[in-house]
């Protein structure tokens, strides 16, 4: 049985028809969600908007994680660190004065990207496990720095005021939800493009056997740095909206376990081989968690996520994507 993780099966584009369709599908979904948001605003409980925001945030985080983790095989345990960089960049900018969202988002992306690049440059020449451990260390060091930084509220946290809205938006929640939809759409399109490009092929070779890849001319450090930087930037972008979402930012939440765990569990359960794996994982796990948190408790919810992660790793290591592809292969 072919266990081909790379290929889109024989429909691989000579016409490029299927390729365009998936991209267009993502774009249309994005636009559709935006329209839905605008129409439903004020008609349904704000809770649904908040839930949707949370799930989409995880799609972005999972997708970002997967670019380096799934495609390249380098696990980042410090997603929360990059997310928090985005968060606190926004906080810092807000404290300096009123700031257009676009500016704080751009700044967050740049800072997170630079940190990703730096960490990568320092540790990606070592074995993959050292990179992973370093990302863990990075997250904790950053958290300690923030806890001790009174300007951004330290351990006690800080309140963020949502700016007033005007124009087509009736509430700020609506605005950031639309931004998150946009960010999700962009992330998915980027992830898919990377996957199919020379970057994705190179990362796949690195994932399979880095030494052999180098022997084939794959510039592994360069590719890993690209992936780390891109991944970090997307995580930072997701984080940059968070202060407006929660209005009260503290290190425990920004650097919290749910962020770190979900960004790994969702791609692994959904499937790391391709761009829609993290989406499936985020939708499944995200909605499960929303239900569980409301009905049982947030600790129980994380517990179940953990159990699911371990269970999937043992039973279905290539996630839902793997199960689907196996089923497809068996049909042929």
């Amino acid at each position: 049985m072919t266990t081909n993780t790379l290929a889109e099966p024989e429909r691989s584009p000579s016409t490029g028809l299927l390729a365009i369709r998936a991209d267009v599908l993502i774009l249309i979904s994005g636009v559709g969600l935006v329209i839905l948001t605008m129409l439903l605003s004020g008609r349904i409980s704000e809770y649904y908007f908040l839930a949707a925001y949370t799930i989409l945030q995880f799609v972005v985080l999972g997708t970002a994680w997967n670019i380096l983790g799934g495609y390249g095989g380098y696990i980042n345990f410090g997603t929360a660190g990059f997310f928090a960089i985005g968060c606190y960049t926004t906080v810092v900018l807000i404290k300096l004065g009123p700031m257009p969202l676009a500016v704080s988002m751009a700044a967050a992306a740049i800072v997170a990207a630079l940190v990703g690049l730096g960490t990568g440059y320092l540790t990606l020449r070592l074995r993959g496990v050292y990179f992973s451990i370093a990302t863990l260390a990075l997250a904790i060091v950053l958290q300690t720095l923030v806890i001790n930084w009174t300007f951004v509220g330290g351990a006690r946290g800080i309140y963020v005021i949502r700016p007033a809205v005007s124009g087509i938006f009736s509430s700020y929640v609506q605005l950031i939800l639309v931004m998150m939809i946009g960010l999700t759409t962009v992330s998915l399109i980027i992830a898919r493009a990377v996957e199919r490009s020379w970057i994705g092929i190179g990362l796949a070779a690195i994932r399979d056997d880095e030494g052999a890849a180098e022997t084939c001319g794959v510039p592994s450090l360069r590719l890993k740095l690209i992936a780390t930087t891109l991944s970090g930037a997307l995580m930072g972008l997701a984080g940059s909206l968070f202060p407006y979402f929660v209005t009260y930012v503290d290190p425990a939440t920004a650097f919290g376990l749910p962020i770190a765990v979900n960004s790994i569990a969702m791609p692994l359960i959904g499937g790391t081989a391709t761009w829609w794996g993290p989406v499936v994982g985020a939708l499944l796990l995200g909605s499960t968690q929303q239900i569980l948190t409301v009905t049982i408790s947030s600790a129980a919810n994380l517990f179940i996520v953990g159990l699911l992660l371990v269970a999937f790793l043992i039973v279905a290591p290539r996630g839902v994507v793997g199960l689907v592809r196996d089923w497809q292969a068996r049909r042929e």
């Binding site: 072919t2 266990t3 081909n4 993780t5 790379l6 290929a7 691989s12 584009p13 000579s14 020379w198 092929i201 190179g202 796949a204 070779a205 994932r207 399979d208 056997d209 030494g211 052999a212 890849a213 180098e214 022997t215 084939c216 001319g217 794959v218 510039p219 592994s220 450090l221 081989a273």
Partner: protein, 240 residues
């Protein structure tokens, strides 16, 4: 006398006090077939790893095709035209056989269009006799097919020199001949080949020149018959 393709001078490599290679010098000319022999653990693989950039040598210089490659990373050496195969084949297991070939085509030869990549990959697979396995995953291949895949992947990079590290270990007599024939074909297309082998008949029949590395030092470098008659070489092998 043609300009050498590869020049290694005084290559030395230490591991924590253990001297794996000591002052090894070596020259290779375009289109040459050279054999490299030596007892297990003598430093052959270390030498290959220094040539290909897996290890950085502690001393010495390596020049290839007019460039100083001493400090170059592996992938850049591959782009210069120096490739290798591994003792134990290392195919990319998440890809089909054809996709394995497409990786060096994309990264070294620089082709980008999917159609072009597929065409050239299939050309190469045809050349080594693996065209029927193009869509398979490498885990379905036999030993000799895996060796051919290693070679195919190496030549996909359009190299000037190939280092074949024990490409025939563990194969049957007829399989050894298959690989030898393939190597001869590649050489007649202009590829320089450095063959590291324990299978003596292969080394003797294939090489124009043989070098011997024992305990990290090069002790012989000459015509196959002459080298095999040397006392030191006999001792090195009989004393094993």
């Amino acid at each position: 006398m043609t300009e050498p393709l590869l020049t290694a001078e005084s290559v030395t490599k230490r591991f924590e006090g253990f001297i794996a290679l000591s002052d090894v010098g070596f020259v290779m000319h375009p289109g040459e077939r050279v054999g490299l022999i030596g007892p297990n653990g003598s430093g052959k693989s270390t030498f290959v790893n220094c040539l290909t950039g897996v290890y950085r040598s502690d001393a010495g210089a390596i020049r290839f095709d007019g460039h100083d490659i001493t400090g170059m990373p592996s992938w850049l050496r591959c782009k210069q035209g120096l490739v290798r195969t591994y003792q134990i084949p290392r195919p990319f297991r998440g890809m089909t056989v054809q996709q394995n070939i497409e990786v060096p085509l994309r990264f070294t030869a620089g082709h980008t269009s999917a159609r072009e990549l597929a065409r050239r990959a299939q050309e190469i697979l045809d050349k080594v006799g693996l065209i029927d396995s193009a869509r398979l995953n490498p885990k379905r291949l036999s030993q000799v097919e895996l060796r051919k895949l290693e070679l195919a992947r190496a030549i996909a990079a359009a190299p000037k020199m190939l280092i074949a590290d024990e490409a025939m270990a563990g194969l049957s007599e007829s399989e050894v001949d298959e690989i030898l024939e393939l190597l001869h074909t590649l050489n007649s297309d202009g590829l320089s080949i450095l063959l590291i082998e324990h299978i003596m008949r292969a080394v003797m029949s294939f090489s124009q020149r043989v070098i011997v590395i024992v305990a990290g030092r090069k002790i012989a470098d000459g015509l196959p018959d002459e080298v095999m008659r040397m006392d030191e070489v006999e001792r090195a092998y009989l004393g094993e």
